[in-house]
């Protein structure tokens, strides 16, 4: 007898439909599996047979052929154990074929028939929803992640027997209830900008950076609070939309970073990879490519502490994905694309000891500083719009009683600036000031006579490059947006100048 079960495999962060076919016919007792299988899928024949036997179902000694189609997609993972066993039992006549229609089944089996959780549930249920498959049977431990997508009937099963009984007599299990946890948990951060005492200039810089999605570089001594500030950046970013949240959760799901308690991710990601990171884990990779840190910080913040300690080549790998907002990794079995739209926050020390230009503490020679700064990846600096210095807090700063601005208050202003940009860039492929292409800069960064004169003065005094000037104008545009002003005034340019990207070349205006 022939039977057919729907299942799904992952390709990057997207699902692909897999049909598990099973045929039982007379002949020598055999158990054959075909369909471009990885070894872990091939091994599933042993798991399936034992689990079926231990669940109390008897199989007659017959010739069994199992095919996973389409045959040109490589199948990987233990995700097919459950669909294979269901197809097998259906072929042996335990389950009526009609009950399997429009039902997507996934899950790993243990030898005693228990169903074990698998990775990447969200992309699979999302795929089911998009392809009008309205029922999904998945492992019990994956249930929270399984109900993220509304409009699906999701059954969470603990054992193989449960699933078979359900499919035999139809609907013994109850569907998992959909809980809308999205809005409730949003914006509940356990950190806040009010925790940062003083540091007015950094806070202002972060406000501007977030408003225009400008990548930013912090320069300061160890212990100044660079990581503390970076960690608080997501709290002033606009709240995630449902679509964004799904995008992020899919990536985390594929990487197996979602446990049975977390459903949809409702906070913007904040990732801080260590500087020993390899290229593969930063941008994504592996035999079967997995999203890297840049994708895990999609729609959030990627914080690179000790920027100069990162391998230069690794850092430079980020250039193209940063420009495109996605990374495509090519491997033997196909091309995998992961989104990676993130805000880069980098932090570095100004010199080897970290205290330059404080002459009382810094004993680095200018030679040492040059040598240290030479580790910078210049092409990468081109993609960073702003730089700001940070200083270690003094006692009176740390223990002051002055009320600090909360993230909520800052966020209000950021939202206004983003609103301005949304209006400006409506129907355009860009969303933020940082993305304005250089050739269109004049259209949105129009300057009056006075401003034009100031730009000339700045250009000459700071011996700026054209690129540096463009960055300055984009930042000034964002400051004007925060001011809710359509025109860029001299005040905006003056302020942007304080946050201009340092020119490190040969010490540049740094030493």
């Amino acid at each position: 007898m022939y039977s057919k079960v729907l299942s799904c495999t992952l390709h990057g962060v997207e699902g692909r439909l897999i049909t598990v076919e099973c045929d039982v016919s007379d002949g020598l007792p055999m158990f054959n599996m075909v369909g471009f299988l990885a070894s872990e899928v091939r091994e599933s024949s042993d798991r399936v047979r034992t689990a079926v036997k231990n669940s109390g179902y008897r199989m007659k000694p017959q010739r069994v052929t199992i095919n996973l189609s389409p045959a040109d997609i490589r199948k990987e993972g233990a995700i097919f154990d459950l669909p294979i066993s269901i197809a097998l039992l259906s072929a042996f006549g335990y389950i009526p074929a009609d009950n399997l229609k429009s039902t997507l089944i996934i899950g790993e089996l243990s030898l005693n028939g228990d169903i074990r959780p698998v990775k990447g549930i969200l992309p699979i249920v999302d795929f089911a929803k998009k392809n009008n498959i309205n029922t999904v049977i998945l492992p019990f431990d994956n249930r929270t992640e399984g109900v993220i997508v509304p409009g699906l009937t999701v059954y969470a099963a603990k054992t193989l027997k449960e699933v078979v009984n359900h499919l035999m007599e139809s609907k013994l299990m109850k569907p998992v209830e959909y809980i809308d946890s999205f809005v409730d948990n949003m914006d509940c951060f356990d950190v806040d900008f009010a925790d940062v005492k003083g540091q007015q200039i950094i806070k202002r810089a972060m406000e501007i950076a977030v408003s225009g999605m400008h990548n930013i570089l912090m320069i300061g001594p160890p212990g100044a609070g660079k990581s503390m500030i970076a960690k608080r950046i997501p709290t002033i970013m606009p709240s995630l939309t449902y679509e964004e949240s799904i995008e992020i959760t899919k990536i985390y799901s594929v990487n197996g970073l979602i446990d049975s308690n977390t459903g949809l991710l409702v906070k913007r990601p904040f990732r801080t990879p260590h500087h020993s990171i390899t290229a593969a884990s930063l941008i994504g990779g592996g035999k079967v490519p997995k999203p890297g840190e840049i994708s895990l910080s999609h729609n959030g913040v990627l914080f690179l502490d000790e920027f100069l300690e990162f391998n230069k080549n690794t850092i430079e790998m980020m250039r193209q994905p940063m420009e495109d907002g996605e990374i495509t990794i090519s491997r033997l079995y196909g091309n995998y694309t992961f989104p990676c739209n993130f805000m880069l926050v980098a932090a570095m020390n100004p010199c080897p000891c970290g205290y330059f230009p404080d002459q009382s503490k810094c004993h680095c020679t200018s030679n040492e500083i040059h040598h240290y700064l030479n580790k910078i990846s210049y092409p990468m600096l081109d993609r960073i719009d702003m730089s700001v210095a940070i200083k270690k807090m003094e006692y009176h700063d740390l223990y002051q009683s002055k009320k600090q601005e909360t993230s909520k208050e800052i966020k209000q202003r950021v939202l206004k600036a983003i609103h301005m940009q949304n209006n400006r860039f409506a129907n355009l492929p860009i969303h933020f000031n940082s993305q304005i292409p250089d050739n269109l800069l004049n259209r949105w960064c129009y300057l009056g006579k006075k401003e034009e004169q100031l730009r000339k003065d700045i250009f000459e005094k700071y011996s700026m490059s054209a690129r540096g000037m463009n960055k300055l104008m984009k930042v000034a545009r964002t400051i004007a947006d925060l001011d809710e002003s359509e025109e860029i005034t001299t005040d905006h340019i003056w302020e942007a100048l304080s946050f201009r990207m340092m020119n490190f070349h040969n010490g540049g205006d740094f030493i």
Binding site: G198, Q199, Q200, I201, I202, R204, I219, P350, F356, P357, D358, Q359, T365, S366, N367, H370, S387, V388, A389, K391, D457, I458, K461, D491, W494, E495, L497, S498, M502, N506, G507, D509, F510, I511
Partner: protein, 370 residues
């Protein structure tokens, strides 16, 4: 190139010929030309081994010398020797004069006053500002500024002299084509155009540390007085000072705080009898230079004078008054003047464009002298 010059070039670039050896040979033969035509028996006494003599004799094949000479020409490098007309007269007065020098740009005017401005490579902002200020003021008064084109004080002194539209010459430790340190590349280029670069070594000689005391003797030799801007108790600067004293030059020093280790060397020089300099007119008057205007700033209330002269706006005035020569962080300035960050950023950047303060490092500001 004059007829004789070729033989000088040939001799000074010969393998195994140091300045001392060439000097000894010239004591006997008087002219390089005679050395060229001397037989190997005549020359044998100058060489320790036969190989050395052999190599020297091979050098008489002029092909290689010509190639070297052409290369020098293509790099715009000029050569002058002890008997050249343009050989700096001041060198003839020192005990151990260079026999030949290579230079780019122009050589200093023998009749003009020359002052060497020297100091530590690893210096403070005070030192840098002072070097630049004195370089600039001396340049303005047509005093030629001599220094070593090194990091720190040297570079600042040259830069100052160029800012003051004066003549300045840098004496190199390595070969004439060696740009060291690299970060002074643009300074090298500008000095070639508007001043001069001079070295006792021909192209290709790396700037070994052993060459620097030799270089210091030339710095001292080219000037009339030596101004020490900033030096620690132990510093290479004192090699130049000692050479200068041996050559009978005047020593000037800028004082520093007694707590400041970077100024300890200068203070010791003053204690030992160097002329203390707190103003550029101290040097100019010492040499009875005419036309010295007495509008030099009084450093004690320098900031007040600038505020008055520039007629600054109230916020700019407040921000400027709280700055010092040592760098101050933006947030600290905001706190001190108690204004909105935007206001402070605006006036700081405005002051930078006016040229009375500088951004020393990212978001750190300090006042600028001169």
């Amino acid at each position: 190139m004059m007829y004789q010059d070729k033989y000088w070039f040939w001799l000074l670039n010969a393998p195994g010929i140091t300045r001392q050896k060439a000097g000894k040979m010239l004591d006997v033969f008087r002219e390089p030309e005679y050395i060229y035509y001397a037989s190997s028996q005549e020359l044998a006494s100058f060489f320790k081994t036969d190989q050395q003599l052999e190599r020297f004799m091979e050098w008489k094949d002029l092909k290689e010398v010509n190639r070297l000479y052409e290369k020098n020409q293509s790099l715009n490098i000029q050569f002058c020797h002890y008997h050249s007309i343009n050989y700096p007269k001041k060198f003839k007065e020192i005990p151990d004069p260079p026999l030949g020098i290579y230079y780019k740009g122009t050589l200093p005017d023998d009749n003009q006053l020359s002052i060497a401005i020297i100091g530590a490579r690893n210096c403070t902002r005070y030192g840098k500002e002072m070097a630049e200020y004195f370089g600039k003021e001396l340049g303005k008064h047509n005093v030629q500024v001599v220094s070593g084109l090194a990091r720190g004080i040297d570079g600042c002194a040259h830069r100052g002299a160029l800012l003051g539209n004066g003549y300045t010459i840098g004496v190199l430790g390595g070969g004439i084509d060696q740009v060291y340190p690299k970060e002074n590349y643009h300074l090298f280029m500008e000095m070639e155009q508007r001043g001069g670069i001079i070295s006792e070594s021909n192209i290709g000689i790396k700037p070994y540390s052993s060459l620097f005391p030799e270089r210091n003797r030339l710095i001292a030799g080219l000037c009339d007085g030596i101004l020490v801007v900033e030096a620690m108790e132990k510093s290479g600067t004192f090699i130049t000072v000692d050479q200068g004293l041996d050559q009978g030059k005047d020593i000037f020093a800028i004082p520093g705080r007694i707590l400041d280790e970077k100024s300890a060397g200068c203070n010791r020089l003053i204690k030992l009898g160097a002329h203390m300099v707190t103003d550029v007119s101290d040097i100019l008057n010492y040499y009875h230079l005419s036309g010295v205007k007495d509008d030099n700033p009084n450093f004690c209330h320098y900031k007040e004078d600038v505020i008055e002269k520039m007629s600054l706006a109230p916020t700019d005035k407040m921000v400027y008054s709280c700055l010092q020569i040592e760098p101050k962080y933006l947030d600290d300035i905001i706190e001190e003047v108690n204004l909105a960050p935007q206001e402070v950023c605006k006036s700081l950047n405005h002051l930078v464009i006016l040229g009375i303060i500088t951004e020393i490092a990212c978001n750190y500001y300090g006042i600028k002298i001169g």
